[in-house]
C-alpha cells in the first residue's frame, strides 16, 4: 500500500518536473532576448529539477543516497544561478539592450 502511494507520488512529481523542463525549454526558444531566455531557463528548470530530485528522493534506499541527491540538486541550482548571473552580466556590459514591445521603444 505504502509502496503504491510512494510510486504514485513519484509519477506525479516526475510529470510535474517534465512540465517545467518543457516550459523552460519553450521559453528558451521563444523568448525574444537574452535576459528573458535566462529567466525562463533558470527559474523553470530549477523547479523542474527540484521536482525530479524530490521524486527520486522518496524512492531513496538510504540516507546517504538521499544526501547525494540533495547535494546534486544544490550544486546544480547554485551553478545555474551563477552561470545565469555571468551571462546576464556579460550581456549587460556588452551593452545588450533588453527587449521592449515595439510601441514602447524609444
Amino acid at each position: 500500500m505504502i509502496d503504491l502511494l510512494r510510486d504514485g507520488l513519484t509519477i506525479v512529481l516526475l510529470l510535474g518536473g517534465a512540465f517545467f523542463f518543457a516550459a523552460g525549454t519553450i521559453g528558451l526558444l521563444r523568448f525574444p532576448d537574452v535576459y528573458s531566455r535566462l529567466h525562463a531557463l533558470t527559474k523553470a528548470d530549477n523547479v523542474g529539477l527540484g521536482l525530479t530530485v524530490l521524486a527520486f528522493l522518496i524512492q531513496a534506499d538510504s540516507v546517504m543516497q538521499g544526501l547525494k541527491l540533495v547535494l546534486v540538486w544544490a550544486l546544480a541550482v547554485t551553478a545555474s544561478a551563477t552561470i545565469a548571473n555571468l551571462f546576464a552580466n556579460l550581456a549587460h556590459r556588452q551593452g545588450v539592450r533588453e527587449w521592449r514591445k515595439p510601441e514602447d521603444r524609444p
Binding site: 510510486d7 547554485t78 551553478a79
Partner: protein
Amino acid sequence: MSTLAMSTLAMSPLATTAFDGMLAVLIAWTAWQSVTSREVFRAVMLFVVFGLLLALAWLRLGAPDVALAEAAVGAGLTGVLFLESLGHLRRNKTVEPPETVAQSRLRRWAVGLPVVVAGGLLAMVALRLEPRVPGIAGLVVRHQGETGVSNPVTAVLLDFRSTDTLLEVVVLLLAVIATYGLVPHGPAHHGPRVRPPATPRPPRQPVLVWFVRRLAPLALLVGVYLWWVGSSAPGGAFQAAAVVAAVFALLRVSGMEAAPPPNARPMRLLMVAGSVAFVSQGLAMLAAGRVFLDLPETVAYGLIVSLEGVLAASLAACLIALVAGAPRPPRQSGERP
C-alpha cells in the same frame, strides 16, 4: 529500490536501442557542427557538449572510468583551454584570412569524403565483426586478486599493463616540457628573472566568487575521493588529477588564482614527481630481483594506492601548468617594462 524505480532504470531493449541511437546521432551531429561552425565560440560550446555526450556514451558502454576522464578532461579542461585561446585571439584581434566559398567547399569535400568512405567501410567491418577469440576480461577477473585492488580497470592500468600507463604519465609531462620549450628560458634557478604568467583578471563577479569559494573545496574533496576510491571503484589518479586541475581552472577564470609561478622549482619538482616515482618503483622491483614494474603480491595494494596518490598530485600539477600556459620569456635587459 522499489520495483518501479528498478523498471525505469533497467530500460526495455527497445528503449535502450532508441536511446543509444539518439546518442550516436547527437554525437555525430555535434561533432560535425563544431567542426563546420563558422563562429568559433559556437564551435567551442558544441565541442564541450560533444565531450559530455561522449562521456554519456562511455557510460552506456559500461566504462565509467573513461566516462569520468572524458567529462573532466575532454569536456571540462579542454573546453577551458579553448575558451582561453578564444579570449586570446579576440584580445590580439587575430583574424583568420577570409576563405573563399569555393576553397571551403573544396576543403569540406576533401576532408569529408574520405571520412565518410572510411567510416562506411569501418561500419561494414564492425557490423560483420565476430570475435573469434574472447578478450582478456575473463583473465583480468581471474588474476585481479593478485594485484590487491578490486577495480579491474586499476588492475590493468597499474599492474597488468603498467608500462603503457607509465608512458602515458610521461606523455603528460612531455606536453608541459614542450609547452615550456615554446619560450626559450633558463632553468628553474633562473626563476627570479622570470615573471609569473599574467593571469586574466576579469572584473570581480561577486556571485561567481561566492559560488567558486563554496565549490572549490568540495571539488578538491571529490578529487581526493576519486584517488582513494580508484582501487575498488571507478576513479583513480587521472580522474582525480583532472578534477583538481578543473578546480584550478575555475579559480583562474574567477580571478582568484593563487597558484605558484609555474617556473618555480617546487612546481617543476611536483610535475616530474609522478614519472620519477613510477620509474623508480619499476627499477626498485628490478633491484629486488623481480622484473621491471613487477609488484609483489603481498605489497601490491599499498604500492598501487601510494603511487596513484603521487601520480594524482603530479598529474594535477602538469594539467594546471598546461592550463596556465608557458611562462613569459625573461625580459631583455634593454627592454622597457
